[in-house]
């Protein structure tokens, strides 16, 4: 184990019954890093995060979190990690204040009253502190849960889709705060489905069908995917899109309003394939593939592999 990694897991596998939902996942997260965790629904993000914080026992594999063994030292990990669950898991029949105070006591915080007051002020919920948590709106519930996960000032935050259903302003505020924490040396592993959030991470990992498909900084991930992308603009793009989709060298054709993204892996084959269409009224330009294009391409390929192995 290397001490400069806050999270360091190797070959994590997890099966439910005979279904393997996480397959040989390796993750290394450095101190102070904001690490994005992306992947389609059901790809195993929540399961992986739960294994990292000791809530699930890996079927095989090993690893350390904050220097503690994730299998043997779950108790120590729980004390020092702030975990925000994907599903709302505060007590709906407790008030906002009572929920935070419960967290404060369970983590044995000496000055929990002050900490709770500060958290309530930050959230702007001080006026509603005696409202039952169950009566909060969805977005506010998530913001409260996040405040709860950060109350004991953990060194590592594991956040499972913390901003799902949260409004743009609160999301921006949340990301600013995460970056501030990062500067103070606090590490964050955050799962998300939003591309703009992925772009605010220092590094990220992409998982599909239980396997990690890519890890690294955003430029690395894009470069390693080796995609070529052409952006087409002009009239009647839908018709063009349908024609292009028939061609084997073209992997993805996506319409973005007045633009068309045409993506392929084999640069030469792609150039040949689009040659007949590079004429009026269309204008073609080669650009760097976006993160989203990369992910969609990765999932497409992983799916093919997945079914190859299965059948």
């Amino acid at each position: 184990m290397s001490s400069d990694y806050i999270i360091d897991v190797q070959n994590l596998c997890k099966s439910f019954g005979d279904k393997e939902v996480v397959h040989r996942v390796n993750l290394q997260v450095k101190s102070g890093e904001i690490f994005g965790f992306l992947g389609p629904n059901g790809s195993g993000k929540t399961t992986t995060i739960r294994m990292i914080c000791g809530l699930l026992k890996p079927t095989s594999g090993e690893g350390h979190c904050l220097g503690y063994d994730i299998i043997k030292d779950a108790y120590q990990i729980k004390k020092e990690v702030g975990y925000m669950t994907q599903q709302f898991s505060l007590y709906e029949d407790l008030t906002i204040r009572e929920n935070l105070e419960f967290t404060g006591r369970v983590y044995q915080l000496k000055n929990y009253k002050t900490l709770v007051n500060e958290a309530l002020e930050n959230l702007g919920l001080i006026g509603r502190q005696n409202q039952l948590t169950g009566t909060l709106s969805g977005g506010w519930k998530r913001r409260l849960a996040l405040a709860g996960a950060m109350l004991h000032q953990p060194k590592l935050l594991l956040l499972d889709e913390p901003t799902a259903g949260v409004d743009p302003k609160a999301r921006r505020q949340f990301w600013n705060e995460i970056h501030e924490l990062s500067e103070r040396g606090i590490t964050t592993l955050v799962s998300t489905h939003y591309m703009d959030e992925a772009e605010r991470c220092h590094r990220l990992a992409y998982i599909a069908y239980g396997s990690l498909l890519a890890t690294g900084t955003i430029p690395d991930v894009i470069k390693n995917a080796g995609l070529t992308m052409w952006v087409v603009s002009g009239e009647n793009l839908n018709k063009l899109a349908n024609q292009l989709r028939e061609l084997p060298a073209i992997e993805q054709v996506t319409v973005f309003g007045k633009e068309l993204h045409v993506v392929g892996t084999d640069k030469k084959a792609l150039a040949n394939a689009i040659k007949p269409f590079q004429k009026k009224p269309y204008t073609w330009e080669e650009e760097l593939a976006t993160l989203e294009d990369v992910f969609i391409s990765l999932v497409g390929k992983a799916k093919d592999n997945f079914y190859l192995i299965k059948n």
Binding site: L55, K57, V81, T85, S89, V106
Partner: protein, 377 residues
């Protein structure tokens, strides 16, 4: 346990109390169940019923028969409700439940009696409910001995029955009037506690799983023992609330004597309450949802109420049933409360019924802590 933390335990206790306070329905149940059971068992159920409807078909009207019928009513077990004219009518009364007894007095009863021919009276009894009739039959038997004594004077005194060569004196102790409530109400404390305590903790734990709060509770450093005790301790107080409610009613409404120390009873109730709560916790570790938890609680409650000696006399049950009964804490608690309340048992008397409950509690709590999952698997 070296990592055990009182502060975390308190956190869970406080949380549990707040939730209990907010859950009005459960709270109402906690108070309503003892009251309802008291009314049902205390007032409605009587295994020594009196004034049972009796039909008398008499073909002989004499001082003897009048005397017999009056004495029969004086036992307080019989109440003459009808005087049918024919055998068929009398049988119909029995069949349709309008009478539980039919007394047949033959036409020459008095004449045969005076002649010393030992005539017979026929008392037909509907024994569908064997328990209900038993005491009445016993009372009517005693009557035959001396009912006619004061009529058989002077010339008829030779008809007086000769006394048996010895007397058997029966001394009904602890509950001489055989008042059912004396037996039932102390037992009710145990039944109510078993019924509510098991289910309440079983639900409190599975609710966390069902509402998804278990995930964040497990993610906190709270230890299994802390979580369990945190769930058990608030309900101990609830258990005592129920205990006082029933004891109060026993004392003020049913006038049950408290021969022994109430303080001893309250102390000895603690392991029993804790034992039932631990069973609830144990169930919750196996149940996937609140419905299953409820079903498991009922599964525990039924043998408790049937085989503990609450419903049926313990020593009247077959051996296998007694063996099952001897595992259940309610069996010992019943003996203990009846012992303390009716017989004035002291700690030394009650101890043989206390330690099995403590043992049961420790085992249940241990199994619960062992089975408590610290992960979501």
């Amino acid at each position: 346990m070296k990592r055990f933390s009182i502060q975390r335990l308190c956190a869970i206790i406080i949380k549990e109390f707040i939730q209990m306070k907010r859950d009005r329905l459960t709270f109402a149940m906690i108070v309503a169940i003892p009251l309802l059971q008291l009314i049902l068992f205390g007032y409605a159920i009587n295994s020594n019923p009196k004034y049972l409807p009796t039909a008398v078909m008499s073909s002989d009207q004499s001082a003897f028969t009048r005397r017999f019928i009056r004495s029969l009513q004086d036992t307080t077990y019989f109440r003459v409700v009808s005087l049918p004219k024919s055998e068929a009518m009398a049988q119909k009364l029995l069949r349709t439940n309008r009478a539980q007894f039919v007394l047949n007095i033959p036409s020459d009863f008095s004449r045969d009696l005076i002649r010393g021919k030992r005539p017979s009276l026929l008392l037909t009894v509907d024994t569908t409910d064997s328990m209900a009739a038993a005491n009445a039959i016993a009372a009517s038997n005693i009557l035959t001995k001396d009912v006619f004594d004061h009529l058989l004077t002077g010339a008829l005194s030779y008809l007086r029955p000769t006394p048996p060569p010895f007397n058997l004196i029966i001394h009904a102790k602890y509950n001489p009037e055989l008042i059912t409530q004396y037996n039932i109400v102390p037992g009710l404390i145990g039944v109510v506690l078993t019924m509510t305590m098991v289910i309440i903790t079983a639900l409190a734990m599975t609710r966390e799983v069902e509402r998804g709060t278990m995930e964040s509770l497990l993610a906190t450093p709270a230890r299994p023992l802390e979580v369990m005790l945190g769930k058990v301790i608030p309900y101990i107080i609830v258990g005592y609330l129920q205990l006082f409610l029933i004891l109060g009613a026993a004392y003020f409404v049913f006038r049950i004597p408290a021969e022994g120390s109430l303080f001893l009873l309250c102390c000895a109730a603690l392991p029993f309450i804790a034992a039932n709560l631990s069973v609830g916790v144990m169930f919750s570790t196996a149940a996937k949802n609140q419905l299953q938890a409820t079903q498991m609680s009922i599964f525990f409650f039924l043998p408790s109420i049937l085989l503990s000696g609450f419903m049926f006399p313990f020593y009247g049950m077959p051996v296998w049933a007694q063996k099952i009964g001897s595992i259940l804490p309610l069996t010992y608690f019943l003996r203990m409360t009846r012992g303390i309340l009716l017989k004035g048992n002291t700690l030394a008397d009650a101890w043989p019924n206390i330690w099995p409950i403590i043992l049961f509690m420790i085992i249940a709590l241990f199994v619960g802590v062992m089975r408590y999952r610290q992960t979501l698997d």
